[in-house]
């Protein structure tokens, strides 16, 4: 599996060489596009990160976690996963930190650890994606797509915890 990505690079470089593409110039030009793209993301990133930090410091995230844990347990989601599930739609790096914590505390092969892994791997940073994808476009009505994605992710979380029990 680890071979796959080097193989893709070899194939593309070889094909480009055959087609007489100026590889160095074009590769650098692509990196230039990446730089412009990254810079265009920073305002969004900064605003979202500031919001997340503030949410954390305000202890609202802890209160919400405590409030929702019983509901989650009732639906078969281990209470330890509450924070991970809540943070994931906003922040990939934030939720990755929680995933690390859960694995360190309960072990990668424990039920809780496996649940956390499947939940993390089968969900996305919904709010972050919506901000980045539609940045700079005219106002879109995104409430329905965002709500659908959130509901679907939540149902998937329940399914993931169920699957980890039987698989």
């Amino acid at each position: 599996m680890a071979m796959l990505i080097p193989l893709i690079f070899i194939a593309v470089f070889a094909f480009a060489a055959v087609k007489k593409v100026k590889i160095y110039e074009e590769f650098s030009a692509g990196v230039g596009e990446a730089l412009k793209f990254t810079l265009s993301l920073i305002p969004c990133l900064a605003a979202i990160f500031m919001m997340c930090e503030l949410f954390e410091v305000s202890t609202l995230s802890d209160k919400l976690t405590k409030l929702l844990s019983p509901v989650f347990s009732f639906l078969g989601i281990p209470a330890e996963l509450t924070k991970l599930v809540l943070i994931k739609p906003f922040s990939g790096s934030g939720s990755l930190a929680y995933l690390n914590e859960i694995i360190a505390e309960y072990g990668a092969d424990s039920y809780t650890g496996r649940c956390a892994c499947v939940c993390y791997g089968s969900s996305e940073t919904i709010f972050y994606i919506s901000a980045v994808y539609f940045a700079g476009l005219k106002q879109k009505k995104l409430a329905a797509p965002i709500a659908i994605s959130l509901v679907s992710t939540f149902l998937t979380t329940i399914l993931a915890c169920l699957l980890c029990r039987i698989m």
Binding site: G30, E53, F55, D109, S123, Y133, T153, A160
Partner: protein, 184 residues
């Protein structure tokens, strides 16, 4: 996004003002600082993949892939914009391979192309597909489990696959068959 940002920001702001007003500014400064660290990480990912994709583009490779996928793209996303299909195809390919970070620039490119055709349906569908995660191999999670000393790091591949398939299908079906105003 506007309403959510304002809501969470204001609620947190009020709570911080009551609980620990001295923690307010450090939180904002820290958040801004972390965003640049994140941007550096992202630049690494984008530099590698956008460099490579520029080669694929200039050699005609991604154009050929887009042409092959165009009929399917047209049917699902209801578009005949070749550049948009190219972006969508590359976005999905990156997602399936588990290099989600590399998928973002392609989605942004495709959404920009679709904006020219005023195709909100395709833009929103592409968003939903990405927001519900499409992935064959959860590369990051497997790597994390291996480094944590898991006895069966790939143990979670099958449940993850079932879950991502379910979430994307469920969301896409609800979106496509839901009320018409959701799609425009």
């Amino acid at each position: 996004m506007n309403a959510i940002f304002t809501g969470i920001f204001l609620a947190s702001l009020l709570a911080v003002a009551v609980i620990s007003p001295e923690g307010f500014l450090p939180a904002l400064l820290g958040g801004a600082e972390k965003s640049l660290a994140m941007a550096v990480t992202l630049f690494g990912i984008y530099a590698v993949w956008m460099g490579l994709s520029r080669l694929a583009e200039k050699s005609g490779l991604s154009g050929a892939a887009a042409k092959a996928l165009k009929p399917m793209c047209g049917k699902i996303f209801r578009t005949d914009n070749t550049a948009a299909c190219e972006g969508i195809a590359m976005n999905l390919a990156c997602n399936l391979l588990g290099i989600g970070g590399a998928a973002t620039p392609y989605a942004v490119k495709a959404i920009g192309e679709l904006e020219k055709d005023n195709n909100s349906f395709a833009q929103k569908l592409l968003f939903i597909v990405n927001a519900t995660s499409v992935q064959l191999i959860p590369t990051t999670v497997i790597a994390l489990r291996t480094s944590a000393g898991s006895a069966a790091a790939a143990d979670i591949v099958l449940p993850s696959l079932i879950c991502t398939t379910f979430s994307t299908l469920f969301a896409a079906i609800v979106f496509i068959f839901g009320p018409k105003k959701w799609r425009c």
